[in-house]
């Protein structure tokens, strides 16, 4: 009589384990399938067209069979870089204020509010960019308004929640004894913050910025709306640009044949860039946890 119950217990245990394992692997298999699909659709084109020609030619004229994505790569990099210039200082400064200077009650209100920013659909950011930001840039700085600068501003704000919440977490993870030790030696709060706390939380902050970059480079809708989408290597912040993501989203619905493959190949390039960024970020995070 004992045996069946025992067996049942074991099988129940095993069963749950199996089910959990399958669910965990389904997430991984999704990313694998996506990777396989994109590579399968895009790689043959890259080899057929020539890697050098594809990556470094500035001519993107699908109707004439010319597929050079250099302007899009440069634009994506510039847009991301610009978003970082705007978003990273704001985000890190915000995180320092929230953790080191603001009373706990203020942090309890402000942090969820900032995280709410992440829940705003990107099309809303794009809309604000088109209606408010672009006319301001056009009237005060010149150019068409829909520009690199507008995209940088919008993305800079969009990456704030990522940068702030991960920075806050990593600053809070610094042991209290570090701060207490520094304060006990007579250092002020700011001295403690920039000499002790930030140093200890550095890799986490770097990771937050890199994850923010990943978000910026992958953003599509808001960028299509505010960047103007000209296929053009930007020479000034007021130029209109088209990012890699925008290129795919704009033309995918119309593309057939070689053009379609070229868009998948654009996806491959984007995928590689994002993998590189994410691995840098996860190395940085790992360093924070085990490297001290």
């Amino acid at each position: 009589m004992k045996k069946p119950g025992f067996l049942k217990k074991i099988s129940g245990e095993k069963g749950v384990e199996k089910i959990l394992m399958i669910t965990a692997f389904s997430a991984i298999s999704a990313i694998l399938l996506i990777a396989l699909f994109i590579l399968n659709e895009g790689l043959p084109f890259i080899f057929k067209y020539g890697i050098k020609e594809f990556l470094f030619s500035s001519e993107w004229q699908p109707s004439k069979g010319q597929f050079g994505i250099f302007p899009m790569i440069m634009s994506s990099l510039w847009v991301t870089f610009g978003a970082m210039i705007i978003g990273a200082p704001l985000g890190v400064a915000g995180a320092i204020f929230l953790t080191e200077f603001a009373p706990v009650s203020v942090m309890r209100i402000i942090k969820p509010t900032i995280e709410l920013l992440a829940a705003i659909p990107s099309v809303v950011f794009g809309f604000i960019g088109v209606m408010v930001l672009a006319p301001l840039i056009r009237n005060y700085l010149g150019g068409p308004g829909l520009s690199l600068l507008a995209a940088c501003f919008i993305l800079g704000i969009m990456i704030l929640p990522t940068v702030i919440s991960i920075s806050v977490d990593s600053i809070l993870a610094v042991p209290k004894s570090y701060r207490e030790g520094s304060l006990a030696l007579g250092a002020t709060t700011w001295q403690t913050t920039h000499m002790v706390t930030l140093k200890a939380a550095r890799s986490g902050i770097v990771a937050s910025i890199i994850l923010g970059l990943g978000r910026a480079i992958g953003e599509t809708m808001a960028v299509i709306m505010v960047a103007g989408n000209a296929v053009n290597v930007p020479h000034s912040p007021l130029d209109s640009v088209r990012t890699l993501t925008a290129n795919i989203a704009l033309e995918m619905s119309y593309a057939t044949g070689l053009h379609r493959q070229a868009l998948f190949a654009t996806g491959v390039v984007l995928f590689v860039i994002i993998i590189i960024l994410n691995s840098i970020a996860s190395t940085a995070i790992r360093k924070r946890k085990y490297g001290k």
Partner: protein
């Protein structure tokens, strides 16, 4: 807790299954041209009100998608708004159901009233970059075009001829966003479906001909493209009934009443 969730989900599933039941209907899917999509939706709505046993779904996607999905069978009827149908569409039965003018639009504050086809070509190619060269203020021209593959863009480029779009032209992905961009930017010029011109933008004359219904019908306005419905195989059954309905006086009334031009 889990039980509550499970019962909640099963209630939803039951509701969905019940609501899905009903009389079997013939279903037709239309896909393609975003310029014709709103018209197709309206026509489908009216047709379904008369024929209760037919259900029509209308999807966008663009002319290329229209041709592709008619070929693959993903849609029974493809919609395309190109001057010249590409080779892939050769095997499909094409019916012209309407025609559409393409209006050249500028900001209402712009003084320029008329451009020649030559000037438009030079502006879009980047040879003319300032409005003063074509009789306007001394301000730079912002060119706004559609994405590669758009039916409106390829029709525009085929009729104006010789266009190799300048590199810093802004690209917008729909008629609506072209209108929005032009209405926001005093210096911009773009083109969009005649039916979508409103007070926010100013349609200018092309070779001294205004973009009006009369001029398009008489053929004096050059920028006109046909709108095709594409069917694979034989044109029969409900597909034919629906296309016949669009070509009937009642269907054509919907088309002309909303800014497009009759097929004939």
């Amino acid at each position: 807790m889990l039980k509550k969730i499970a019962s909640f989900l099963s209630i939803i599933a039951i509701i969905l299954i019940i609501s899905g039941c009903g009389k079997p209907k013939t279903s037709i899917t239309l896909a393609g041209s975003t310029a014709f999509q709103p018209f197709a939706e309206k026509l489908a709505e009216q047709y379904m009100a008369i024929n209760k046993n037919v259900s029509i779904t209308v999807q966008g996607g663009g002319s290329a998608v229209g041709i592709q999905s008619a070929n693959s069978g993903a849609a029974q009827i493809g919609m395309a708004d190109l001057v010249v149908l590409p080779d892939e569409a050769k095997s499909l039965i094409a019916t012209v159901v309407a025609r559409d003018g393409i209006a050249m639009v500028v900001n209402p504050k712009n003084k320029v009233e008329n451009l020649t086809a030559e000037q438009i070509r030079d502006i879009f190619n980047g040879k003319i970059t300032n409005w003063k060269e074509v009789g306007g203020d001394n301000t730079p021209i912002t060119v706004v075009s559609r994405e590669a593959g758009s039916g409106t863009r390829s029709s525009f480029e085929q009729i104006i001829t010789g266009i190799s779009l300048k590199k810093d032209a802004l690209i917008q992905d729909s008629n609506g966003s072209i209108r929005e961009t032009v209405s926001n930017d005093v210096n911009s010029i773009g083109y969009l479906s005649h039916g979508l011109v409103n007070a926010k933008v100013k349609a200018i004359k092309l070779d001294k001909t205004e973009c009006t219904v009369e001029n398009i019908v008489s053929g004096s306005y050059k920028l006109v493209r046909p709108i095709f419905l594409l069917v694979k195989g034989n044109l029969d059954g409900e597909n034919k009934n629906f296309i016949d309905y669009i070509l009937s006086p009642e269907g054509q009334k919907v088309i002309t009443g909303n800014g497009l031009l009759p097929a004939k």
